[in-house]
């Protein structure tokens, strides 16, 4: 097993390893350009004969396109070209196809049905921006307006309009099995039953626009040798390059992308829409073409951090120990997937927040609605649920009459504790963080809380163990739309997975990994892992769900909740799908064929040869 290794021998002469910068004034390496106005942003590259491209956009949330009449626009002064969906060589994509996650669901220019207000259906290229704007206004689209849905839970109802035809249940498909991402750790039902109090609440976050001062844009121009140069505001240069190559069905070797100077991004410049549009324009006209969003577009169609709705249910003992926590989460992905599918996986890995809770369950849904697609923004997938968790911690503190900071210190994870995603916590510091915050705010703490440490009390006994876990197989793809699964919260467990089972995949009945090489292989990404304890035989008696020892700062009396009723019968092995074959048996990657456009490599089910994990292995 190899762990992460720093190859400091590489480029050693180009790197200064003296990184002792904290507390010292430092000057940004790029700031001289900023203060003299010489930093070259994408729009600061000048081209003779630059043409301007503007998009024709939907005024409706949801509508079918009956026809597009651009004849008047084509005759307007300065217009060089009207671009229609049929001009896009491979007019379907999903951003994460570059890493083989999810199905292509979004067109660059929508040919059939728009699913959000502002979705582009055509574009005009003209000599001046004003001419392009006026020609866009002259394009006539015959719309058949359809019913729309703007709320995540409305979108889950059986009679909701289908937003995204690639996902007709209005939810992203997780692991090809479920309409949501599951997390199961221990048995929350037993935890709630044993708790002194149960605290439930719902939290709602609105979408947040990144609002960079420089709007998204790109300039593309024909280069020598049948190549195109593209200056772009992108935050993700090779992502944008790969996406452009795929949509335009061009080998990436024909694309010369120049970026790295971003006028504010905050996540809003990864979606790689402006680059393929500009390169397409340059290809169709043979001229330099700029495609840039104006401020209104940035606000209307620029993908924001998505709205999130979270319901949290905590079981808490009178002394403040949280013994069960259940989440039901809804991410508003808008009309297409973009990065929300990933945000949910990331967010689920974060649950239940920085606390050691022996029983955790969550169902998180990536829901399609007729709103602007959502994308990355500053910790997306984490910030929303953290907001909810911390609001909820205050409510729990109130419910048990405890100081909110002491409640956090009591429940904070310690080094060595087992997290719900089945990895040991290390380098934890929430206890110390709370202590410093309390000190700075002159907030009194009890001596036990004030002297607690992240290094003490963790990693012992059951705190370090993966508990026996209750599983279920509710919420399979399509069941909800058929009206068979009215409840969105985690179902009560019907199956049991033995304590000590390390792989999450084992805990999800039937949830096979999407691909063999996506099997969790921590050593590949450098996580240091303990050798998993030998799996307890599945006929072992159930472990009391709330008996995990706590650090010695709680009330002195012993836990009164034990003994719990022996809840579940001895568990059966998961009913379906044995664990996927080991990695060694994975399909061999196709040989590298540099002459072929690489979009052939990114379609499922074959793995992309650009998947970094595949190539490195």
């Amino acid at each position: 097993m190899s762990s992460f290794e720093m190859r400091k021998d590489l480029f050693a002469d180009e790197r200064d390893d003296n990184l002792k910068e904290i507390g010292k004034p430092t000057i940004r390496q790029d700031i001289l350009g900023h203060v003299t106005g010489r930093t070259p942003f994408y729009d600061d590259h000048q081209f003779d004969g630059l043409l301007h491209m503007r998009a024709v956009r939907s005024p409706h949330h949801h509508a079918r396109i009956r026809s597009i009449d651009a004849s008047q626009a084509e005759r307007m002064p300065g217009v060089r070209r009207v671009v229609l969906p049929s001009d896009v060589p491979h007019n379907i994509n999903t951003l994460l196809s570059l890493i083989g996650f999810g199905r292509d669901d979004e067109a660059l220019l929508q040919p059939k049905k728009v699913a959000y207000m502002g979705e582009p259906v055509a574009a005009v290229i003209a000599e001046t921006e004003l001419q392009a704007r006026q020609a866009v206004a002259a394009v006539r689209v015959d719309w058949e307006v359809l019913p729309h849905v703007l709320d995540v839970e409305d979108a889950l109802k059986p009679d909701a309009p289908v937003v995204n035809e690639e996902y007709p249940n209005n939810t992203f498909d997780y692991h090809d099995v479920y309409d949501h991402q599951k997390l199961r750790f221990g048995d929350v039902a037993a935890g709630f039953a044993a708790a002194d109090k149960v605290v439930e609440a719902e939290y709602q976050m609105s979408p947040i626009e990144q609002a960079p001062i420089e709007t998204c844009g790109a300039i593309a121009a024909p280069e020598t040798n049948d190549r195109f140069v593209c200056y772009t505001s992108t935050q993700a240069l090779f992502f944008s390059l790969g996406t452009t190559a795929k949509l335009l069905n061009m080998p990436s070797s024909r694309l010369h992308f120049i970026g790295g100077t971003v006028g504010g991004g905050f996540g809003g410049k990864v979606d790689s829409i402006v680059e393929p549009m500009a390169v397409l324009g340059a290809r169709l006209t043979g001229r330099p073409v700029k495609f840039a969003w104006d401020r209104e577009e940035e606000m209307q169609v620029g993908a924001p951090r998505g709205a999130e709705r979270w319901r949290i249910k905590d079981g808490v003992m009178a002394d403040g120990r949280i013994v069960a926590r259940q989440f039901t989460g809804f991410f508003d992905s808008g009309a297409y997937t973009r990065l929300s599918s990933y945000a949910i996986v990331k967010g689920t890995g974060h649950l239940p927040g920085p606390y050691t809770i022996p029983n955790v369950a969550s169902n998180v849904y990536c829901v399609f609605t007729n709103r602007t697609p959502a994308t990355a923004m500053r910790g997306f997938g984490i910030t929303g649920v953290d907001f909810s968790i911390e609001c909820h911690m205050d409510r729990v503190a109130e419910a048990v009459g405890m100081d909110p900071i002491e409640l956090r210190i009591l429940n904070a994870y310690r080094d060595g504790d087992m997290k719900a995603h089945r990895r040991s916590a290390k380098n934890t510091a929430l206890v110390e963080c709370c202590q410093v915050a309390a000190q700075k705010a002159a907030w009194p703490l009890s001596p036990t809380a004030g002297t607690a440490s992240s290094l003490q009390g963790g990693g012992v006994g059951e705190r370090a163990m993966i508990p026996e876990t209750a599983t279920d197989s509710e919420g399979r793809i399509g069941e909800r739309r058929a009206g068979r699964v009215p409840d969105t919260a985690p179902a009560s467990g019907t199956g049991r997975v033995a304590a000590g089972t390390a792989r999450q995949a084992d805990a999800q009945t039937g949830a096979t990994p999407q691909r063999d090489d996506m099997q969790i292989a921590p050593e590949r990404v450098g996580h240091r892992t303990k050798t998993p304890p030998p799996a307890t035989p599945s006929v072992a008696p159930s472990r009391p769900p709330v008996a995990a020892p706590t650090p010695p700062i709680a009330a002195p009396q012993p836990v009164s909740a034990a003994p719990p009723a022996p809840s579940a019968p001895p568990s059966l092995p998961p009913a379906t799908a044995p664990v996927a074959p080991p990695v060694a048996a994975a399909a061999q990657p196709e040989p590298y064929k540099p002459e072929e456009p690489f979009n052939r490599g990114v379609k499922r089910p074959g793995a992309s040869r650009f998947l970094s994990g595949m190539r490195r292995r």
Binding site: P25, T26, I27, R28, D30, I31, L32, G33, H34, V35, T36, G37, R38, T39, P40, F41, D43, D44, Q46, T128, L130, Q210, A211, P212, I213, E214, T215, V262, G263, G264, G265, F266, D294, R295
Partner: protein, 160 residues
């Protein structure tokens, strides 16, 4: 359609350019003259990244009809340094980490210069007011306000 000749002083140099009807000053400076220091952020007067000085006073070049600046004196961040010698504001912005992405910086500097030209000893509130039409999404404004106060103090020969 014929273009209109417009001449003005840009950072001390006589400048003449032909402009399209309806063109704004920002576009004329960037595309017509080649001074790329003012930036386009919103084209509607909200963000301030296109701020230039006209006859010493800050204006939004994106909302200024190019033909209205005939015969007037325009200053941009592109002309703020005196050859290799940076303006005190530029030095203070560099040292004070008063820029991150840099996109708003040119407009901020012009708004700040207009203030210090008129009021060499501004209070903190006056600095905040002077840049109230300039949006920054990266720094959170504090380093910018501090840098302007630092520059003012240095220009007055005061210790910071």
């Amino acid at each position: 359609m014929p273009k209109t000749p417009v001449s003005f002083t840009l950072n001390g140099s006589e400048t003449a350019v032909f402009v399209d009807g309806g063109a704004n000053l920002l576009d004329v400076l960037r595309r017509g003259v080649g001074d790329l220091s003012p930036k386009i952020g919103c084209a509607q007067g909200t963000c301030g990244s296109c701020t230039v000085l006209i006859d010493g006073e800050p204006h939004l070049s994106c909302l200024t009809l190019a033909e209205t600046v005939a015969g007037r004196r325009i200053e941009t961040t592109g002309g703020l340094a005196n050859g290799p010698d940076l303006h005190a504001l530029q030095n203070a912005f560099m040292e004070g980490f008063a820029a991150q992405c840099g996109y708003c910086t040119a407009g901020m500097l012009m708004a700040a210069k207009a203030l210090l030209d008129r009021n060499p000893n501004p209070s903190r509130d006056e600095v905040v007011e002077a840049i109230s039409g300039n949006l920054c999404r990266c720094t959170g404004y504090e380093p910018i306000v501090n840098a302007i106060l630092t520059a003012a103090a240095r220009m007055q020969g005061r210790a910071v």
